[in-house]
Amino acid sequence: MRTTRAPRARLGAAAVLVAAGLAACAGGDDGGTPVINLYGAASAAGFDQIIDACNEEAEGRYKIVGNLLPSDADGQREQLVRRLAAHDDGMDVMSTDVTWTAEFAEAGWIKELDEEQTRLASEDTLQPTLDTATWKDKLYGIPKHTNVQLLWYRKSLVPNPPKTWDEMFEMAQKLKDEGQPYEIGVTAARYEGYVVTFNTILSTYGGTLVNEDSTEPTVDENTVKSLALIKRLADSGLASASLSNAQEPEVFASMQQGKAAFIINWPYVLSAMRAAGETDENSKKIADDLGFATYPSVEEGKPPRVTLGGANFTISEFSKHPDLAFEAAMCMRTPEHQLMHAINAGEPPVAESVYEEPEFQEAYPQYQVMLAELQTAVPRPVTPLYQNISTIVSSLLSPPKGIDPESTSEDLRDGIQDALDGKGILP
């Protein structure tokens, strides 16, 4: 008897555990305290401390429960979208990528912030990050963290960092002729990161891809110039041979392996290179030699308009406690918590005041460059059909060598028009 009972008891215990787990997932309001279910962001390093701090501060008015999502952006979006399309009321606050705002807002899945909330969310927040949370002049999200790419270079090879692409090409060519490391690294594989590269160049020329209401493509001579620049990079012999496969890790590696003199990448490069330097002598040398500067512009005196990364907190339309959800979201991104998050998880803050904190400046020596770029940064094309447009851009521009500025821009116009007409097919 005993031998048969033991496994059964174990099974029973397992069932109870599973049931308890399910109950915890659902995040019911059994205890009387309204539960605010947070989706996304919760798995970031040290974020549990922020949640705990907010729960303590709430003094029983609400309790934030962090729920896990897949680690990649596409997987996260898929889960959120499935639940939102099913009007799931078990999600309150979501951490949504900056490119999803228009899509979620147009579908009626996230709450528009009212006047008072807009005021609170905009306080001490960099305007460009607010733009990523705006759709049709209404604010739908609370900027959570942001990100901008910088120019990273080798101080020993490049005494004065280039201000423009022209200068960078010249310097790289000179280094190449001297037999020094010379490569220029940018993300140009067929993926989202290539769209970021293209969007920065296009915006710096003053161009856009779709008009403000996302009704028609705005492909013009700026598009042609941007395409010509990418084509020039691909044909110059100054980029890595695997440019068409380069994502952030490859670009980082080209610097780490001492092939690149210039790379364009996110702020994590410095801390990542230092971390690698702890075990690897070569990486340490590179880390000590690493300089940073503003993203190169397209012409002298014209500030670059860098594409924003990052995420916003949004409130689900189907939340049972939208006001508390807003309050909870605001708590999770107070300047103090943004500072904690920037240092623990490496995600830069959206509050201008944090950039003045000595603690932040110590962790991010490149803060001045970042802040300057953030002042003029631009969102990616703001449109509910961003997914399609991003796919069209990255596939039409791949491989970079295959670009023909005139005809590729025509293809872009047709492709975007099709997407806007609901005829866009994703591969």
Binding site: R82, A107, N245, P384, G422
Partner: protein, 310 residues
Amino acid sequence: MTSTLPPQASAEAEAQVARQRFTEGQRAERKLGLLLCAPAVIVMLAVCAYPILYAIYLSFFRADLRTPDANEFIGFDNYVTVLSSGLWWNAFGVTMFITVVSTIVELVLGMALAVVMHRTIVGRGLVRTAALVPYAIVTVVAAFSWRFAWTQDLGWLAGDNAPLTEQWSSLWIIILSEVWKTTPFMALLLMAGLALVPEDLLKAASMDGANAWQRFIKVTVPLIKPSILVALLFRALDAFRIFDNIFVLTSGANDTSSVSVIAYNNLIRGLNLGIGSTMSVLIFLSIAIIAFVFIKLFGAAAPGASEEKR
């Protein structure tokens, strides 16, 4: 199909007799039977018929969750869009290629495996169990193993190359993983057919001087043709809907999307219900055509059909 008339006629005569014998009690029993079936039928209608009809309905609309205000009836426009898209035809070509190649390879290997399993005398159970192991592994888990094995600097099969970043090498790896996975299933179906081949026939053929290959081709294969056809049909339908292997191995990168992957990307990832449903309907039609071709063209020649005539 005039040749099937006689059995039909005889069936009708039988039915006549059956009707005459139909008493009140039997009628009640039949009613009870229907009632007992009803829940299952209702559930099947709800989970099968309704989604199919709804997908067909949606395929005639511009229906996008991202732009709910722009939804409208557009007739066959979605079909025009999909059928004039290079992406769709590329996916269709990839799917057909995978279906044809993997089904043929599986048939050959599966037959060999079936003969081995059938003929083994020593350790029969062990051989059969071992052969079935790949089929018992969850496809996604197996696909992940293949993916890691073929990842640059990580997998022992890849070495310095990155075969999953190019179209053709990716397709062969997808086929390899598909073949490895489902050959046991093929073998199982074929082995069931082999069990039906009478030993006497083979012995008689042997007496007449047929060698092993001739016995196999002239005696065994015609006798197990119905099994072969069923196995081919099952595998072709399965292979045409290939999704999980591709999703894990390449997620459709480098033009390796199958029709199911591209439909998933548009429906679930892209939220374009109209285009996605159109693709689903087209896949449904393709599968119906494959099944029809198998049953009508090959099925008519199957010995099982002529047996009934005798």
